[in-house]
Amino acid sequence: MDKELHIPGIGLGFRREMAEDMIALTSGKPDFIELAPENWMGMGGYWGKILRRATEAYPVICHGLSLSIGSPDELDMNFLRSLKSFLDEHDVQLYSEHLSYSKCDNAHLYDLLPIPFREDAVKHIAERIEVVQDVLERAMVLENVSYYTPVAAEMDEATFISSIVNESGCKLLLDINNVYVNAFNHQYDPKTFLSSLPLASVAYIHMAGHEQVAPDLIIDTHGQDVIEPVYELFSWALPKLNPVPVLLERDFNIPEMSVLVGEMNNLRNLAHKAWSKQTC
């Protein structure tokens, strides 16, 4: 499955607000796009046409929202089967999700809640990853999420993530901005944190902006430009990683496409500098 995951390059999150602009790009185009399957599954009409045009123009990676891998609830097998159909239809080779939960008591919350960093949660999630991979017939890639408070933790975040990767064999989506946000919010050193992750398992990288809402709190909004300290952390991490796809996320306060192209160029230059001896 490793071979299937390898889609190197710099990508851009595909959102409705910028869909037409992204499809129309003639220069500075992303190497791939990433979209949330839940926002496009079963969609006909205007948005169905937009999706077809986008998937004809770009390779597609999918980043899910509602799988809820860390939930106490049972996996939603109907949803998984629909998801597989969508991934197959659009020839999506890389599917990632969040290491969090978004559904509980049979009710979706549509946001990412922090999983207790505990050994039983590790085993629970590792079992579910196997099921998901079997149904989707794809390797699962899980993202380290931003969290604003630990909840009933019995281990630290890096141990939790590493344990899940080791136990399940899943791949890691390394969100550099989330590392920065968590390090700021929980007052630890982001480089030490990064060094303690299973970096050989990183299959994909996310970069994004955030918003500081209090002197001691950053919220992961994807609504601002990527800031310099996050670029620096990205540059620091790259030599420790295999060449993998890098995605720029921008979900709110979407600027002119030229600004996003500029940010993608920044990422491309940094990745090229770090991985110049390998294909990027």
Binding site: E38, N39, M41, G42, M43, G44, G45, Y46, W47, G48, K49, L65, S66, L67, G70, S71, P72, D73, E74, D76, F79, Y101, K103, C104, D105, N106, A107, H108, L109, Y110, D111, L113, P114, I115, P116, R118, D120, A121, K123, H124, E127, R128, Y148, T149, P150, V151, A152, A153, H186, L217, I219
Partner: protein, 257 residues
């Protein structure tokens, strides 16, 4: 809640408590949390829900005003278990909640289910999966009544009890009645059109659409057999005019090529 073998009851309970706090807002005491941070989770969760519902139902949100609308959204999210993993489809569940709880009756908003249904139908028709139709050619007026017509497959026919399609936000005290609305998606642009129909035209159109291979005269005769007669003011010229207008609007694509 289903339990797996490996997830301990205590962990599951903590996760459930956090989720319930986000939905309902009642204060909780969880172990190992950073003071003042849980509130952000509820705020972020509600931001998503408010955003989706306000975008889906802009007329209802304005009609109710921010206070009543905000109360409805939070009541819905606290008391209804949203089952759809696709967040845009969560908006449909607001309508389910209203109907299941009779919220509109308790709040003196009898028109609310119809208003939400009309707004939801616009989303549904705009996004419904693409269907194909047989090749067609424009149908001459002289053949509209007696030819097998090809209809736009992306539509809904609504029967409303309040005239929410004629809503005026500044002065809205609708009187109940029988109102029919054809909602369909333009083939080329993907835009959604609304066409107000008289009860007879709505019934006739519904009969044609529900009966495979029937022409309009056949549907008219079937209605007569069922005891439903055209109003005295409606004769063949009016029927032809009605069908021609639907062809002009591209709800009728034409006749089978």
């Amino acid at each position: 809640m289903e339990q797996t073998d490996v997830l301990k009851q205590n962990t599951s309970s903590i996760q459930g408590a956090l989720a319930r706090y986000c939905r309902e807002g009642a204060a909780i005491d969880l172990p190992g949390i950073t003071p003042g941070r849980l509130e952000h989770y509820r705020r972020l969760v509600l931001n998503v829900v408010h955003g989706i519902l306000s975008e889906a139902y802009p007329i209802a949100a304005r009609c109710l005003g921010s206070s009543k609308w905000g109360e409805l959204v939070e009541q819905f999210f606290a008391n209804h278990k949203c089952h759809n993993p696709q967040v845009w489809l969560m908006a449909r569940e607001l309508l389910d909640f209203i109907e299941e709880t009779a919220y509109h009756e308790a709040k003196g908003l009898p028109f609310l289910p119809d208003l939400l249904l009309m707004e939801w139908t616009e989303i549904e028709v705009h996004s419904m999966p693409d269907n194909t139709t047989p090749p067609s050619t424009p149908c001459p007026d002289s053949q509209l009544l007696s030819t097998h017509l090809v209809f736009n497959p992306h539509y809904k026919l609504l029967h409303l009890s309040y005239p929410v399609h004629r809503i005026h936000l500044d002065d809205f005290e609708p009187k109940p009645g029988n109102f029919f609305l054809l909602v369909f998606r333009e083939e080329k642009s993907g835009k959604v059109q609304f066409v107000s129909l008289s009860p007879y035209f709505a019934t006739l159109l519904d009969t044609v659409l529900q009966s495979e291979g029937i022409d309009v005269l056949g549907a008219k005769n079937a209605l007569v057999e069922a005891g439903i007669h055209a109003p005295k003011s409606i004769h063949e010229p009016q029927l032809v005019y009605f069908l021609k207008s639907l062809q002009d609007k591209q709800f009728i694509f034409g006749k089978v090529a």
